[in-house]
Amino acid sequence: MKSLRFIVSRMLQSVPVLFGVSIVTFLLMIATPGDPIRLLVGVRASEETIALIRDRYGLDDPILSQYFTYLGNLLQGDLGASLRFKVPVSDLVGQFYPVTLFLVVYSIILILPPVVVLSVWSAKRPNGLADQVIRVLGVMGLAIPVFWMALLLARFFGVTLGWFPVSGFGDTFIEHLHHLFLPALSTAIWVIPILTRNLRSALLDEMNRDYVLAGMSKGLGEAQVFRTHVFPNSVLPTLNLFAVIVAYLLGGSVIVETVYAVPGMGKLMVDSILARDYFVVQGATLVFALTTIVVMLAVDLISGLIDPRINT
């Protein structure tokens, strides 16, 4: 009940946020030079044709009225239609969003186990050999350009060894797993270090807490104290960072999706920006924003479950 009210209030709060997001995006798109119609009808079309079609799309109306038309439709749940494909933006989102979502979730699944293992490992003996190695490797993973690493992985695992597809999404669940392995891996390579570093320091902090001593004094032994007390307490700070990263992945999968030709939101976004397909960019951004808000909310709820002091 209490948490239900929490959810509702948060959702209400998110309305003005989404409103703000829509304004910013709209202004950005309006400010972007370049004519969608020119890109649509192609090189050879004459000025007259272009002007005619611009008019058909109402692209020459005053900006404000354009925005209000857009907002009006938005309030009725209508994200508008793509300038390029003339199909509803919601259809496009429906087509590309699941892929990105799958990719992100997949990446998370690949990311979490190593993060836990590595951070625990290096926290056991701070500044020990393992710790140093893990940290340096981490920094490298962080500093290698994703698209570069991705390309190498594709050529090696995809072409040389032929173990994994280098593109696409597949149709069945198994195929999804198979196709998205390399993209997810490429993502994991730079996300793991960030989370590991964070969780490690959290673990180190928690290991010096008084309740650890108390636990030891009960004869629980290090292993159990770590398992039942230290770890749960360390997860909290990492969880928040995790939320930020997930949010980032949703929008930042552009590169990986490009290199592995994954038909996901990132690709849709970039293509739409390049093609000045205003309504798609707006719609997609709104969906992103909404997802992020939901993720943040979810994380807050989870932390609420873990930590009774946070009241959700």
Binding site: R209, D210, Y211, L213, A214, G215, M216, S217, K218, G219, L220, G221, E222, Q224, T228, H229, P232, N233, I306, D307, P308, R309
Partner: protein
């Protein structure tokens, strides 16, 4: 019959520093031994060494034999069969020694799960029984509660319950009552004493407070600078201490401090007049105003009192009684919702236009010595800051002025370049006082200035304050939960409870013939050296 525990030439080193130096003692079955000393004296380390609960960097020499088992030689596995089962431990500040994410019940149960073959339901029942043993009301609720939902006293009881779970032979109590209010402290001490009798516990009780030790123990060790300075029957030690440190320790116990006679004050127009002040936290939200209620939580309810020039007023009360809030309202840290504060007859505006001027007259000294000083500013600058900011003297005179202030509060000049973190608690408290004095105030409000300090330091700081009051004719308001301190320093006293002033009057009257039961319990709770063991 050989002792339950015998310690021979125990020495603990952390790298260069020796934390415990050649300590030996025995504990007979059913005996209770107190270890007394100030922070850094090595008493806690000794206590933890008994369980071999020291970080791996610690080098431990000597021998500890518990019921025939060699502790220091034992393997972790072996130790873990002793820890919690036969030797249990309770700590200072239960708040931090309980896992905030785990229900009280489960934390008590941990020991049972580890050391007994009890299962599910049986464990539940046992937990409830234990919680009941330590006098926790409404055990059902408490077992399901999380630490932050319980008061400090309840937490400590819960921790004790956990320690008792496996009927240990030896209970190690490390400052178990220090963080608690006087009344709570008393009740916990009584509980321990009782458990000793009923459960036949042997006990080692570590504390900085002889009075507390006297309530529970027969024998006492006095430690100082990691060395054992005196041992003996507690009575004897208290009656005629041999070592001069012990003597000082006893002399500086609030109970033994000579009552200084506060200068009596002219019954003139009061310097401070507080009229029906009400203070509220939170509230005032749109929702509240819509529902036409005040909302929020009321910390101080209609407090009225007055302070004469040169008077020393004491405000006592347990944590949460609103005494600190009240004090802060006097310097504008919290806004008053109702009522008014008159300073020299005219309304004081601690938050208003000429607050700077007002605050030059009225200064507040805070409770936690370390936290009250900006961590990255060396203390010379810290003391000079008000001078510089308020241009109280020409820039070139500042060093001299600062040196003078430091000397006034007995701070060695060479400390000037240190950061607060590099000073002791007592020194920090002096810095804070010096900084307040830099404003050359007429009123000094001291908020629990002594409670975070060791007894000897407490005494020194109190002396300092008394001296300053004499020299500068300061008007003082002391906030403290320690009645002994108040009794010693103040002409008159106000007793607060849950935001209300329940009793007020000249110190002597209030202490000798309290009209309120609450006041009486507070007074009874003052740890006394001569009190008979509970």
């Amino acid at each position: 019959m050989n002792p339950l525990l015998s310690v021979r030439n125990l020495t603990v080193r952390f790298g260069e520093t020796t934390a415990v130096d050649d300590v030996s003692f025995d504990l007979p079955r059913g005996g209770a031994l107190g270890i007394v000393g100030e922070s850094g004296s090595g008493k806690s380390v000794t206590c933890r060494a008994l369980m071999k609960l020291l970080p791996s960097v610690a080098k431990i020499d000597g021998a500890i034999t518990f019921d025939g088992d060699d502790i220091l030689g034992a393997s972790e596995a072996k130790l873990n069969t002793l820890r919690g089962k036969r030797i249990a431990m309770i700590f200072q500040s239960p708040a931090s020694h309980l896992d905030p994410l785990m229900r009280i019940g489960d934390q008590v149960a941990e020991t049972l799960r580890k050391h007994t073959d009890l299962k599910g339901r049986a464990i539940q029942d046992e937990v409830l029984r234990l919680l009941d043993v330590v006098r926790i009301p409404d055990v059902q609720r408490c077992a399901r509660a999380y630490p932050h939902e319980l008061s400090g006293g309840m937490k400590q009881r819960a921790m004790i319950a956990g320690a008792l779970a496996c009927k240990p032979d030896l209970l190690l109590a490390d400052e178990p009552t220090t963080a608690l209010d006087a009344t709570v402290q008393k009740s916990v001490l009584d509980l321990l004493a009782e458990l000793r009798r009923t459960q036949g516990l042997s006990m080692i009780f570590v504390s900085h407070d002889l009075g507390a030790v006297a309530r529970v123990c027969d024998d006492v060790l006095v430690m100082r600078k990691s060395k054992l300075v005196e041992t003996g029957k507690i009575r004897d030690v208290i009656e005629n201490p041999q070592h001069e440190y012990t003597q000082m320790l006893i002399a500086s116990h609030p109970d033994r401090l000579r009552l200084h006679k506060p200068q009596d004050v002219a019954r003139a127009a009061p310097l401070f007049e507080v009229k029906g002040v009400q203070i509220r936290y939170g509230g005032g939200s749109i929702l509240d105003s819509l529902m036409g209620r005040e909302g929020g939580f009321v910390a101080v309810k209609g407090a009225s009192f007055s302070v004469q020039r040169g008077e020393a007023l004491g405000i006592v009360g347990e944590s949460g009684s609103g005494k600190t809030t009240l004090a802060r309202s006097l310097v504008g840290l919290v806004k008053t919702a109702k009522g008014e504060i008159l300073y020299e007859g005219s309304p004081a505006e601690p938050t208003g236009r000429n607050r700077a001027a007002y605050l030059r007259d009225v200064q507040l000294v805070y409770q936690h010595p370390y936290e009250a000083l900006s961590p990255r500013i060396c203390i010379r600058d810290a003391i000079g800051e008000p001078l510089r900011r308020h241009k109280l003297c020409s820039p070139k005179d500042i060093p001299a002025k600062v040196a003078d202030l430091m000397q006034q509060v007995d701070l060695a000049p060479e400390l000037g370049d240190r950061l607060p973190a590099q000073l002791s608690g007592g020194q920090c408290q002096r810095v804070a006082i010096a900084r307040a004095l830099a404003m050359d105030p007429r009123v000094l409000i001291a908020d629990e200035v002594t409670s975070a300090l060791d007894v000897t330091l407490q005494a020194q700081v109190m002396d300092l304050l008394i001296r300053l009051q004499k020299e500068r004719g300061l008007t003082m308001i002391f906030i403290s939960h320690d009645l002994a301190v108040i009794r010693r320093l103040c002409n008159s006293v106000i007793v607060m409870r849950q935001g209300e002033i329940v009793e007020a009057g000249p110190t002597a009257d209030v202490f000798d013939s309290p009209t309120q039961d609450y006041t009486r319990t507070l007074i009874d709770a003052i740890p006394r050296l001569d009190a008979a063991p509970a």
